[in-house]
Amino acid sequence: MPLVLPGEQISAQHVNLKLGPGLLQQPSVDGKSPIVSTRAGELHHSANRSKWWIDSNSRRYVPAPQESVIGVVIARSGENWRVDIGSAHVASLDGLAFEGATKRNRPNLKVGSLLYARVSLAHKDMEPELECFDAQTRKAEGFGELKGGFLINCSLRMCRLLMDPSHFLLPLLGSRFPLEAATGVNGRVWINSKEPRHIIAASRCIEAVDPDGGGMDEAGVKKFLSSMDV
């Protein structure tokens, strides 16, 4: 896994080449590779060298289509909602992009509500757009308003780790107390549990495990949890 810096040429070639985050295709000049990196990080590729991406950690989210994010409603503009997803620009969410929403029956969102949504459009020259259902089936699929609970901010790598089912943290927390979690890849994790001290414990564990901060391992978290009275 070589480290690359922004602007480096990447010798990625395949008939069915797919570029992931941090890579950009440019018009080819005098036989040089048209693929350049746009961020610093580790360069990865799939086993058959058809998919390439750069893995890096950051705190600022850059929207990409089909990613699940957690947003905060900040305003209403006509039919749409303006939602802050931690990116450079505010995203817009169609008032009808919910399961079962019609012109008459619209979800009752307030300014400050939390939403679990999917980025449906992310173009560099346009505002990102969100939706709270699966566009094909028109079912919620878990998206929608998040009520109660607490929002935890973490680094982008941390929330990708939490999304990984084989990561130890959420199952470990779940074995100690019942909890609900929704992870957005924009560095936000929503946690709900009955007892506030459980939510606080989960929040502190996520912060401790975050590779941007403590980077604690499983044994460390177990010790940390037992010191916390949960």
Binding site: G112, S113, L114, F150, P196, R197, I199, R204
Partner: protein, 283 residues
């Protein structure tokens, strides 16, 4: 770019609810401070101070200037502080936010107008040459309570700084290079520490010391107290509209006195450790 959105409804409800049960999101007690981490740089007067994830860097440098005509016997101290978007994406360059104005004014009150450094000792030759101390404060990361962190960094930087020794014979001023004669510490009157308490809209919720970013955003008022370990109050500043009784403020000041004493012990110990690790060569 609009102003940063205020915390969401679930965050607000959870923080208020937890604070009622005397629980804080980072697991601290209501009147518990994050322990400051103090790092000294290679140069004297270069200090990085961290309260949790809040980080502030302070640097002092000195140069010789002509004094102001109305104060020929006093040195000059200036404080430069700017909060750049490096600290947090909430801040914009160029346009000072309310918080930045508060921090700048408070730093001026705590570090300059409370006479921390003896200005007359900075005079070299009356009316002709004085030291001009410049304190630069860089806010590196904001995770709440940047004011206390900046004040702490600034005061430690003054304590850590040493100016070159000067010799005056008649009208002639000789500045000795640090390798010739050991630089001398600044003559300081006292060391004030700033402590900030956050008050919440629900008056039954107890105030919290050293608020985190979220607590600060959700607070209805902040009370900043600057005082030294000798129980001398320098500044009491209250921002926000929470009504407070006199006895409440006196109670909080008693808490602040204890914390200032703790801080003073920590700072003195760290300065001593740092000084022991430095070898000053004098030929």
């Amino acid at each position: 770019m609009p102003r940063p959105p205020s915390p969401s409804i679930p965050e607000k409800e959870f923080v208020y609810g937890a604070l009622k049960e005397k629980l804080r999101v980072d697991g601290r007690l209501p009147l518990e401070m994050r322990t400051p981490t103090i790092t000294f740089g290679p140069e004297l007067g270069w200090v990085e101070c961290a309260l949790g994830k809040t980080r502030v860097l302070a640097q002092v440098d000195a140069k010789m200037v002509k004094p102001l005509p109305e104060r020929p016997l006093e040195g000059i101290i200036t404080i430069h502080s700017e909060i750049s978007p490096m600290a947090s994406s909430d801040y914009e360059p160029g346009r000072p936010s309310d918080e930045e104005v508060t921090i700048t004014r408070m730093l001026d009150k705590v570090l300059r107008r409370s006479d921390v450094v003896d200005k007359e000792s900075l005079c070299i030759l009356a009316g002709q040459r004085v030291w001009h101390l410049r304190l630069t404060i860089h806010c590196l990361a904001d995770a709440g309570n940047m004011l206390d962190c900046a004040c702490l960094a600034g005061v430690i930087a003054f304590k850590h700084f040493r100016r070159p020794e000067v010799e005056v014979v008649g009208e002639e001023v000789t500045v000795h290079h640090p390798s010739e004669r050991a630089p001398v510490p600044l003559s300081m009157h006292h060391t004030p520490y700033c402590l900030t308490f956050a008050y919440f809209p629900d008056t039954s919720t107890a105030p919290v010391l050293d608020p985190s970013h979220l607590e600060q955003r959700l607070s209805a008022g902040l009370l900043s107290i600057a005082l030294n370990a000798q129980r001398e109050l320098c500044v009491v500043q209250k921002a926000g509209g929470v009504p407070l009784g006199a006895d409440e403020i006196l109670g909080i000041i008693d808490v602040a006195v204890d914390k200032a004493k703790e801080l003073d012990r920590l700072v003195e110990q760290r300065l001593k450790e740092d000084w022991a690790s430095r070898t000053v060569e004098v030929r």
